[in-house]
């Protein structure tokens, strides 16, 4: 008896009991589909986050002052008062062999008004290096100049969201004066739209102005504390050396003794990427565990039905044996039946999972990334489940005695 004949017999047996076969497959279908869909959504999300993070800037390193702390209360990242624009300028001056651009950054959230309209947004006081660091150019007009920065000019560049909320569609904001916290600022440019970042924050809802002006006019602070620095390295290969030298320079400038801890923290995108990577690999492990459990349950379902099927068709088994089916023929017939069931279930599961993921992505507007390697793996594994869980019922069938089968009532 050749394989094609065994295969045909198995298919016929499954086709005879369509509803039951489908229900039997259901465990496998649901398990595979759920895993593939969730994996596609998860991978899509983490891939997009990685993309977003690399779009945060070119070879970006961020330096934050130590967290402001009063007794036990932490004031959060960037709220310490230990870092100044002078630190940023020193890094630019002394570490130019490693650092290509530096911008001190002060953030303040203000109300801004133009004619009858008003809008609340974040104003970032930055240096002229910022467009290069964040790889973010102006779409209309120009960025403010170094002269304007040095002379505390009240000029600003606005994001498209701010433009949309303060100006009419036909208005050209360039050259107009808006009031930020009551202070007049001339709009010299509009930033290119950048969209939401990986955390869903609208990056275009921002205003950039010289950090000098923001510090003096909006914060009214004489002490030039800054919230953070953004730095661009010449090359990410120098990351460790750059961090070391920045740390040494800042410790020296802050006059820290050896026994004192750093009063600042450096962050770079590789750390964030590593975090995302470890989160997503943890998720993959968890999902694989869920998949394994659901396939185990599905496999037990198949075993159960195959055992029922063997008992139900015991006369058929007896008859087949009587007219010449060898134990191996019977074993093969029932194992193949189980494999066909689980493989069909796996194939439907992959289809449902891929379709479901795409549908969810479409409806929720989520990025979807289907990894065909994991889909193929899940599919192949489902066949293996059929082989594994089909073996015991098939083995029992093959060990049956033809006379007992034929007499079975």
């Amino acid at each position: 008896m050749n394989l094609i004949m065994i295969f045909k017999v198995a298919l016929l047996a499954i086709a005879r009991n369509k509803a039951r076969s489908l229900l039997t497959c259901l465990g496998i279908i649901v398990g595979i589909a759920a895993v593939i869909a969730v994996l596609a959504i998860g991978k899509g999300a983490s891939t997009m986050m990685v993309k977003e993070i690399s779009s945060m800037g070119n070879n970006l390193v961020m330096v934050f002052p130590e967290r402001g702390r009063r007794d036990a209360v932490s004031a959060g990242m960037g709220q310490g008062q230990t870092m100044t624009a002078g630190d940023a300028m020193a890094i630019k001056r002394e570490l130019s062999h490693l650092v290509s651009a530096v911008s001190p950054t002060v953030n303040v959230t203000c109300q801004m008004v133009y004619q009858g309209k008003n809008w609340q947004s974040r104003v970032s006081g930055v240096s002229t290096d910022m467009p290069a660091i964040r790889n973010w150019d102006v779409g209309e007009g120009r960025f403010f100049s170094e002269d304007e920065e040095l002379t505390y000019q009240r000029v600003c560049v606005i994001g498209t969201t701010v433009k949309a909320n303060l100006f009419g569609e036909d208005d050209d904001p360039i050259g107009r004066t808006i009031r930020i916290k009551g202070m007049p600022f001339k709009v010299v440019g509009v930033l290119e739209p950048k969209g939401a970042n990986g955390w869903g924050q609208d990056q275009d809802d921002t205003v950039m102005a010289p950090y000098t002006t923001v510090g003096r006019v909006l914060l009214r602070s004489t002490f030039k504390a800054i919230n953070m620095m953004n730095l661009s390295l010449h090359s990410m290969d120098d990351l460790d050396e750059a961090k070391r030298e920045i740390t040494a320079l800042l410790r020296q400038r802050h006059r820290l003794a050896d026994y004192q801890d750093d009063d600042f923290e450096t962050r770079d995108t590789t750390e964030i990427m590593n975090t995302i990577g470890s989160v997503s690999s943890l998720m993959t492990i968890l999902l694989t565990a869920v998949a394994a459990i659901s396939l185990l349950v599905g496999g037990i379902g198949i075993m159960n039905i195959m055992l029922v099927s063997v008992t139900e068709r015991i006369k058929e088994i007896g008859l087949r044996m009587a007219i010449g089916a060898t134990p191996v023929n019977i074993l093969g017939q029932f194992i193949l039946e189980a494999i066909v069931l689980s493989t069909v279930g796996g194939a439907i599961g992959v289809a449902v999972g891929v379709g479901g993921a795409k549908l969810i992505g479409e409806i929720q507007n989520w990025p979807i990334l289907i990894e065909w390697s994991s889909a193929t793996g899940a599919f192949l594994f489902s066949s293996f489940v059929g082989l594994f869980f089909g073996f015991y019922p098939a083995y029992r069938a093959s060990k049956l005695n033809p006379i007992d089968c034929l007499r079975y009532e």
């Binding site: 008896m1 087949r320 009587a322 007219i323 010449g324 089916a325 134990p327 023929n329 033809p402 006379i403």
Partner: protein, 229 residues
Amino acid sequence: MSDLIEIRDLKKIYSAGEEPVAALDGVSLTIDNGEFVAIMGASGSGKSTMLNILGCLDVPTSGSYLLDGIEVARRSRRELAVIRNRKLGFVFQNFNLLPRTSAIENVELPDVYLGRLSHAQRRKRAKDLLERVGLGGRGTHTPAELSGGQQQRVAIARALMNEPPVLFADEPTGNLDTKSSVEIMNLFTELSNEGITIVMVTHEDDIAAYAKRHLVMRDGRLIKDDRRQ
């Protein structure tokens, strides 16, 4: 005529209960090629055990069984399956056709396991055999669409598929009405006249009357061997 079946001191002892029970208690017998034999006896006389062992569905506890000159008493399950496939045909009381499977596919089944014929040859032979048993136009019918007599004819056609020298029939008319019974027995007689050896178990005298040799069993022993000319 040469011996087709030769058994010597065949015993089958069941030791399931407290006391071992001998279903066959030393039976010796030869059956020649082309004979039409009826095995008779009350229930529990050992006639079904006898047929199962002769049909290679069961193995004796002791004794020897030569089928077509080959010792088959102590063979593996696989070897017995191959012997049944090539040398023996079976007709059962309750027909034992595969449900929801066409008559023609039921008839083809023995060659599916043997693999002697090509697909087209197999189909042609199955059709010819159905024609032979008088069911020419019913090849596509499933067992549910056939009467008992017709189902038994399909079973006989199936038994003939691999051209076996021996046909075993276990109460072949037990589930049939008188008219169908007569038709089936006439078919057996025709096959016998063509030279096929038939061994049939029955407890009905009028059915046994079609056979040319009567073996009567009681308590696992052969008590009568009656050849009629």
